[in-house]
């Protein structure tokens, strides 16, 4: 018996969301009195033995470069073999875009019940029950999994990373890699930015900022504190900002430690993407803006007057630090 964690990599580095999954998997394994193993696909440059620090005892690698590109069908077959090799009774993914593409396939392949978007450790006091976020973050559901093998896809930013010093055994797994039926003809990555779903700090702007020429109020603050930037759908639809920044019901769902919203009304569809954020700050000139009801901190005021002062204050704080 073991817990197997799938670790997603980008450009040879294990993704932060996957390290969260590793720590989560290690905790699940401890609950079950077993060990957590991991599977890493494709060529990686990270020091995999260091995954021991995240609670992983053994890392299975399949370092064929064909696996540097995600093909859900191919990955599923390889992970299924790894799950059999490590006799896994629980398989953990991050519910990031990669995890979403594979976890469900694996569930169907292994007839293993899946909880996607898990936000807490399983409750094993009476069966195997995992809490997940539902209704776009407006509620949670406890899901009972009754199958021999269980699959959990963990929401990014829902479980904190803790480390202890340990070394993992790293071993190449001998598997047959099926031919891919999908050809990748192009890749475009947003350079140098933390993907929004992984960002711990997010500064976001809405239509209240009047136009793309005013986005310095968002990006200057973001740069100062190392935050990613986001926007409302209205802003993305107006092409003031790129579509990948759009958060909400029809955009990305995020759960950063800080969500700082400037000139966003806080429509229910917007909140659906950000309501799991730990601290929400709202700058809006309308005291009746619905966003204030979901906020932890706020200023009722004109962003064009307030934001330059906030940016100055943060700059001072950073230069004193």
């Amino acid at each position: 018996m073991s817990v197997l964690v799938f670790l997603d990599q980008a450009d040879g580095q294990i993704k932060k969301a996957s390290l969260e999954a590793a720590c989560y998997g290690a905790k699940v394994a401890a609950q079950m009195g077993t060990a957590a193993e991991a599977i890493v696909l494709g060529a990686v440059t990270s020091n995999l033995a260091a995954l021991g620090n995240y609670g992983i005892s053994k890392v299975h690698t399949v370092s064929n470069t064909q696996l540097n590109h995600l093909d859900a069908q191919v990955f599923t077959q390889v992970i299924a073999e790894a799950a059999a090799t490590s006799n896994a009774s629980v398989v953990v993914f991050s519910n990031n875009l990669t995890g979403k593409a594979i976890a469900a396939r694996l569930s169907a392949r292994l007839k293993a019940g899946l909880v996607s978007g898990a936000i807490a450790l399983p409750d094993t006091s009476n069966g195997f029950v995992v809490k997940k976020s539902v209704f776009s973050g407006k509620a949670t559901a406890s899901i009972s999994v009754s199958t021999a093998i269980k699959i959990i896809a963990l929401s990014p930013n829902a479980f904190s990373i803790t480390t202890t010093e340990a070394t993992a055994v790293v071993a190449e797994l001998a598997v047959t890699i099926p031919a891919s039926r999908v050809t990748v003809t192009g890749v475009s990555k947003v350079e140098g930015e933390v993907p929004l779903t992984e960002a711990e700090l997010v500064i976001s702007g809405g239509r209240g900022l009047k136009g793309p020429e005013n986005w310095g109020l968002v990006t200057d603050l973001a740069k100062l504190i190392g935050a990613s930037t986001a926007c409302s759908r209205a802003v993305a639809d107006a092409h003031w900002r790129p579509h990948h920044e759009h958060v909400g019901q029809t955009g990305l769902a995020i759960a950063p430690n800080l969500y700082f919203a400037i000139g966003i009304s806080g429509a229910i569809q917007h909140l659906a993407g950000v309501n799991r954020s730990k601290v929400i700050v709202v700058i809006n000139k309308d005291p009746e803006a619905p966003f204030f009801k979901a906020a932890d901190y706020g200023i009722v005021g004109d962003a064009f007057e307030v934001m330059p002062k906030i940016i100055d204050a943060v700059r001072k704080l950073k230069s004193n630090a």
Partner: protein, 247 residues
């Protein structure tokens, strides 16, 4: 080309979320139901556009749900589907739903099965991948663009931190999100026409669910917003730094 579009019924995006029966059931009183936005705006509308470009294309709709899903599927027919199949079952287990869809898909020998990115109520993001596995087909997740030329498709899809362009031969399963198409409003002709389009209800195949909802919970209410006066924004920065320890 034969396309199967998976349509699910979800509460309107502004619906009040509450539960009954000891927090085991979603409270449907006064809830407006809609076609899951991803299924409608992206999967279905893109299928309709493909049909507009290729008159020989046929669009079938499938939903797993009770008779209360009929108005939703009629609306999808009004937008532009040709025929609809409702599998008469009420389940929230993704594997159960996917198995039902896979059975219909196998039977109909479709060139493409389209789903939305996720349902906005259960947020599984799972059905498409499961259907693909059950049919042993490639699965292109989170597609933002889809073009078809002959038996080949060119697809843009979102990956972690960017986008990828893929080519894949029909048949395959694809999950659709923003970028694929724009929302459309059904017109009078579509609504009238939908009344006479075939909507067939069939019984489900026997499948065991793999998971069950035990209970729902609403998040604890927020303590309330701490407002800082507009003439002292520095105080907000201090609070975020010292109290919230946000940066």
């Amino acid at each position: 080309m034969k396309i199967l579009v998976c349509i699910s019924k979800t509460p309107d995006t502004t619906a009040k979320i509450a539960f009954t029966d000891n927090n085991t059931k979603f409270a449907t009183d006064g809830v407006q139901w809609i076609i899951n936005p991803y299924d409608e705006w992206y999967a279905l509308v893109r299928a309709i556009e493909l049909k507009e470009a290729d008159a020989s294309a046929v669009i079938h709709l499938v939903t797993v749900g009770g008779a209360d899903a009929d108005p939703i599927i009629r609306k999808a027919l009004a937008l532009g589907g040709d025929e609809a199949i409702r599998i008469n079952a009420d389940s929230h287990d993704s594997f159960y739903i996917a198995s039902q869809i896979a059975a219909v898909a196998k039977e109909g020998a479709y060139d493409m099965v389209m789903t939305g990115k996720e349902t906005i109520d259960y947020n599984g993001s799972s059905i498409g991948g499961m259907v693909a596995e059950l049919l042993d087909l490639p699965f292109i997740s989170l597609a933002t663009k889809l073009g078809i030329s002959g038996t080949q498709a060119t697809i843009n899809r979102e990956i972690e931190g960017g986008e990828e362009t893929n080519t894949v031969a029909l048949p395959f399963v694809i999950s659709c999100q923003k970028g694929m198409a724009e929302q459309r409003i059904p017109n009078m002709k579509g609504i009238m026409g939908a009344r006479s389009k075939p909507l067939k209800a069939i019984e489900p195949v026997a499948i065991e669910a793999l998971t069950q909802v035990v209970a729902f919970e609403l998040p604890p209410a927020k303590a309330g917003v701490k407002l800082v006066p507009a003439d002292n924004p520095e105080e907000l920065v201090r609070l975020l730094h010292e109290e919230a320890k946000a940066f």
